[in-house]
């Protein structure tokens, strides 16, 4: 086996001119790329010694073909020195802090002070700290010194003009002057200026020789028309070489000083933009077409730059992406996998004497017949593509030591992901289940962790290749291991929507099922237990309750007591005698009392039952429970029938009248308040202006009347109403949604205030200026069902628009916040001694979370659920 190389560290340093020449394979002097015949020009920018990108050619340095040759550097001898923009701040610091006297060149601080700083610096250095931070202080104090304490030379102020010019008093410092100064800096002082002499010299920050990157770094592309198009870097290098040549010629010819200066400055500009085309102070270099060039710094920077776009996030093989759709019949651990994708994604399997026959068959079936194989790798490392090879021959050749890349099959582990990957449950491992169709299928219980729906969402799959990776995925990342969210220690995978209504309808009081129905339900679930005794026997038929059937799925020994979601929080709980059966009692795996609803097993809710099963019976039991109970609920919903339509929000005419009375009264009360305000008799709330007080009071009145209208509507919406069942059991929607449909939509708002903007002093021209009344400021007294008036509709749209804008802004803001948080905290991990440390090994917490408890394994944040423990061992009250 190949032993992988391990990178232990990466050193950073500045290249000296000698380094650059030494690494160079050729001097580049020609500003051209290819000749008329399309061959690279010798000593040009595309010289074939710099590497090859065109197929067919060989590199003249290493002899390798395109794709294998990594490329080699060349160099350009600059006719005059040029400052490297990246180091401009350091150069500035060096100039400011050192003496201008050629023979001195020391830092402008007394020897004693320098020694102090040196001591401080070496202390930090010894401890592995950021010693160069000391040099900031040194520069700051040295920059203001007017007379050199070493030689007595009077100092002039150095002014830095963006991007690369230095002025000393009235004189301009040329790059050569600057370099001379930097050369004069004493070795002892360099360290104090933040320069590590082991890897850098101050004067190396001024370029005398420019490295030319290999062709592989700046490949040219051939367009369909056959025209070659060069990379931006090549363009920039052409500019540099051309100007460099002109400058050299002019100097040679003894051209006037002014012309040489101009060319020198132009060279500086080109070199500067070659490194960074985004420095402030100069116009960015542009392509002939006017497009801004993307030079070295731009390649690294930003979201799509080298660091974030290619190094921190990489493109991978063995992945697939398609639309997702639901399948309530597969397990939460599974993923319904299109056969077509299963034929493309493969897993390498090593041939042993135990599986040769099986694998031979796969090889014979080849790439097109499902389950087959795509490639065979011989022990020598030769690769056979089964699309073209003689499969029969290869199959017979198979013997231990071969590796075949076979199609994915049922039971293989794959990694499933939906972006944005906001938490670790956005990437989970599923077991493949090959199904007909072209979409990935997933169990509805895993929608919440992925935040997926089926309105066209696409998801990605990755097939881990090594046994090690597969084992890790299976043990650590499988869906059932992720039921509990580390965010709050409760289930994030659980029933949703119809799972809840179905369970409610099955377990509510009065649900009686015949033997046939009972068998039907259980058959759908796929369990065939012995039936318990029927509770009712009437006219010769036996009946079972829904609770009995539900109990068959509960693990033996499970005991718990809690209040269901439908509970109305009465002042005094009637417990077992609750009219709406909201008091849930489970003893030894038997649901004795109460209905099953969101409280019992809905994802992200309190999840009393599911929660207990995960924690007391393990994740496998929990997965089985969830798979079964969701199937049961859906079967029940299908059996009883469940539907909702607009007449679910019907309320009798008397109620409508009552509501419109309330609305009239509310408007009147608002008008009264306005009168009081206009009369100047309104008592302001402390710390608020009169107008603010008025607004608050009006909002209060309107909110109150909306609520009372809602209450009236609610009275006519009972628990036999399907829409109400959904709202009350927590399956979907809320009572507020229903009352908005049935009774009154309520106040529309922007920025938490009543609508006020639009026309001058009014919202719409239909109202008088300064009308503060309910209607004029966006109170919608109609219900969705009765329909909104034109003006109400407009106001409603105003409020709705704010919601949309809000969502868009919020995703951007919270995304950036999360990126920062992740970046700040990602290096933290728990060590074997229980401490939390960062990448330096510095202790951040002595015990994780002050008690060493993993929130994902805790009981709602607590390590031990004392109440439940005592209840279990001593027994309930």
């Amino acid at each position: 086996m190949r032993i992988p190389k391990v990178i232990d560290g990466i050193d950073f340093g500045v290249m000296s001119p000698e380094d650059i020449r030494k690494m160079s394979v050729t001097k580049v002097i020609a500003a051209d790329t290819y000749d008329e015949d399309g061959y690279p020009i010798e000593r040009g920018l595309m010289d074939s010694r710099l590497g090859v990108v065109d197929p067919g050619l060989r590199c003249r340095t290493c002899g390798a073909r395109a794709g294998e040759c990594p490329g080699h550097f060349g160099h350009v001898e600059l006719a005059r020195q040029v400052i490297h923009v990246g180091y401009i701040d350091t150069v500035h610091d060096c100039l400011r802090a050192t003496c201008r006297n050629k023979n001195c060149g020391r830092i402008l601080l007394s020897t004693q002070k320098l020694e102090e700083f040196r001591k401080q610096l070496e202390d930090i250095k010894r401890n592995g700290g950021k010693w160069w931070e000391v040099s900031d202080q040194i520069v700051r104090s040295a920059a203001t010194v007017e007379k050199c304490p070493h030689c007595g030379e009077k100092q002039l102020r150095i002014k830095f003009e963006k991007p690369t010019t230095f002025m000393e008093g009235k004189n301009r410092l040329t790059s050569s002057d600057v370099r001379e100064r930097l050369e004069n800096i004493k070795d002892d002082d360099a360290l104090l200026l933040g320069i590590d002499l082991k890897v850098a010299r101050p004067e190396w920050m001024i370029l005398t020789v420019l490295p030319v990157p290999p062709v592989t770094v700046r490949p040219s592309i051939t367009l369909e028309s056959g025209v070659r198009s060069e990379d931006d870097l090549t363009h920039k290098l052409v500019d540099i070489i051309r100007i460099n040549q002109r400058l050299a010629e002019n100097i040679e010819a003894g051209a006037p000083h002014l012309i040489v200066e101009d060319l020198w400055e132009l060279l500086q500009y080109h070199v500067t933009t070659y490194f960074d085309n985004g420095v402030s102070g100069i116009p960015p270099a542009r392509h002939r077409s006017g497009r801004v060039l993307r030079t070295l710094a731009q390649r690294l920077r930003g979201k799509e730059g080298r660091f974030r776009g290619n190094l921190s996030g990489k493109r991978v093989d063995f992945s697939a992406r398609t639309v997702v759709s639901p399948d309530p019949n597969i397990s939460i651990n599974e993923i319904g996998f299109p056969e077509h994708i299963a034929q493309i994604l493969t897993i390498p399997v090593r041939v042993t004497e135990y599986n040769v026959e099986e694998l031979r068959n796969l090889v014979r079936r080849g790439t097109d017949i499902y389950p087959g194989a795509n490639n065979v790798i011989s022990p020598e490392g030769k690769r056979y593509d089964l699309r073209y090879a003689d499969r029969e021959e290869i199959a017979n050749k198979l013997e231990p030591g071969f590796i075949i890349e076979r199609h994915l099959k049922d039971g293989d582990i794959v990694i499933f992901n939906r972006q944005p990957s906001l938490h670790r449950m956005s990437i989970m491992a599923h077991e493949v289940r090959v199904l007909p169709g072209r979409t990935f299928r997933l169990n509805l219980c895993v929608c919440p962790p992925y935040n997926a729906d089926f309105d066209g969402d696409e998801m990605n799959v990755h097939a881990p290749q090594s046994e090690e990776a597969q084992a890790e995925a299976r043990i650590l990342m499988r869906v059932q291991e992720q039921i509990l969210s580390p965010r709050f220690g409760g289930p994030i995978i659980g029933g949703i929507q119809d799972h809840i209504t179905g369970a409610y309808m099955l377990t509510r009081k009065g649900t009686l099922l015949t033997r046939e129905q009972t068998q039907q339900l259980l058959a759908y679930v796929g369990v065939f237990p012995e039936l318990p005794k029927p509770v009712v026997r009437e006219k010769g038929t036996e009946y079972w309750t829904g609770k009995q059937i539900f109990s068959m799925l509960l693990p033996k020994g499970l005991s718990t007591t809690f209040k269901a979601k439908v509970c109305e929080n009465c002042a005094r709980c009637k417990e077992e005698d609750c009219e709406i059966d909201a008091y849930v009692v489970i003893r030894d795996g038997q649901l004795l009392n109460g209905v099953i609803d969101a409280r019992s097993y809905k994802a992200l809710d309190r999840c009393e039952i599911l929660d207990r099963i995960v924690k007391d019976y393990g994740t496998t039991a929990a997965r089985e429970f969830l798979d079964r109970v969701t199937r049961l609920s859906i079967a029940a919903a299908v059996m009883f029938g469940f539907t909702t339509s607009i007449d679910d929000e019907d309320i009798p005419p008397e109620a409508k009248e009552r509501i419109s009375e309330i609305m009239d009264k509310a408007r009147e009360r608002v008008n009264k308040l306005i009168e009081v305000y206009n009369a100047g008799e309104l008592e302001p709330l402390p710390g608020r202006s009169l107008r603010e007080t008025l607004e608050m009071k009006i909002m209060e009145v309107l909110a109150e009347s909306r609520d009372s209208a809602g209450t009236i509507a609610e009275k006519h919406l009972g628990l036999d109403n399907h829409a109400v069942i959904m709202a009350r059991t927590g399956a979907r929607g809320s009572m507020l949604n229903l009352t908005q449909m049935a009774a009154c939509v309520g106040q529309q708002s922007v920025r938490g205030e009543r609508l006020s903007r639009g026309y001058r002093r009014r919202t719409l021209p239909h109202y008088k200026p300064d009308d503060l009344g309910a209607n004029a400021r966006g109170f919608v007294s109609s219900s969705y069902k009765s329909g909104l008036g034109p003006l109400e509709f407009f106001f409603h749209a105003m409020g709705g628009r704010e919601g949309l804008v809000d969502t868009a802004v919020r995703t951007a803001q919270s995304g950036y916040m999360q990126r920062r948080l992740i970046n700040a905290l990602q290096d933290l991990r728990v060590e074997y001694d229980g401490t939390v440390r960062d990448d330096r090994g510095a202790i951040v917490q002595f015990t994780y979370g002050e008690d060493g408890v993993d929130p994902a394994r805790s009981d709602k944040g607590k390590a031990v659920n004392v109440e439940k423990l005592i209840e279990r061992i001593i027994g309930g009250k």
Partner: protein, 393 residues
Amino acid sequence: MAGVSSDTIRSEVSKLKGELPDSIIRELQGSLLRVGKERAIMREQLEEIIKNARQAYTNAMVEPGEAVGTVAAQSIGEPGTQMTLRTFHYAGVAELNVTLGLPRIIEIIDARKTPSAPLMTIFLKEKFGKSKEKAREFAQKIELTTVEDVALQTETDLINIMFVITLNRSRLQRRGLTPTKVASSIKDTFKIDVGVDGYKLRMKPSTATLSELRRLATKVRILPLHGIKGITRVVVKMEKDEYVVYTEGSNLAEVLAMPEVDRARTMTNNIREIGEVLGIEAARNSIINEAVKTLEEQGLEVDLRHMMLAADMMTTSGEVRQVGRHGISGEKASVLARASFEITTKHLVDACVHGERDRLNGIIENVIAGQPIPLGTGSVELVMRREREGGSK
């Protein structure tokens, strides 16, 4: 049959000390004692409970190598999409603006110098907190009053080069001031003569130029007459059985110095200020409290441990550091980690001059280098001695 006595419970439970966190032991003991009063607890049951508690705690421990930092970041960040963006809301005290939701969380994480809505909750010592008058009096004492607050109108008389303030009588009275008092404090600060004429104050700048007059006018307008710097608005509220003073604006150091204040309970939402006045541990707790408060208000469930870790990371260096390029991320040991976050080129170039070495100990560096990351299963290094070459069937 008689159960175990409460003494037995105490002694048995306290055997867990050192093994389990004190909070759990306390809860266990409390619950057992309470149940024990109602019903008999058998010896075996007690032992079973203690065994189970120990087991449950051991099961719930974090595993070494766990990426607790990333989990914490995700747990705080993920609910961000569900938070409201509304900056101002009236929480509890209807009279004061409070920053809530995502903007507040971002503000906490950013460790801003001053929050966008600084707020103090001042509790008073018993004898002041119980009386409405005394609480009011105190509130008035700390509220910052400037000349502008008591002026009816101010005008700059360009002909005579004079600044004229007309004071509002009722406002003066409410704050216990007189025109002469205002005049003398102006006189003392700017060393100029102030003519008092009823409720009119006239003053000339030291040099009679227009620009000087304007400078004087703006300075005089914001001259504080009394109160504490920064406290712009004060509201007194009855809470439970005492009066609590809420203020807009925050100045912890000076408020705590007031004799009426109950120093143990008085709070501000300015984390930096807490760090400066009360120390880094207090700042850390305040980060946790503020974050928890904000998340809870939004109805989002996030485990306390995640906030603790974020707060600890922000404060380990001894001062409050921001989560971002000017704080934690900007001070990372690794060049590559810094470069891959923000301001890429600067970090790379500086690293060259300083001759830095990236030891590749962190996560992102190893991702960049294409190596296993030192977390979870990647944090384990295995040394294996190969006893026998080849395998046997």
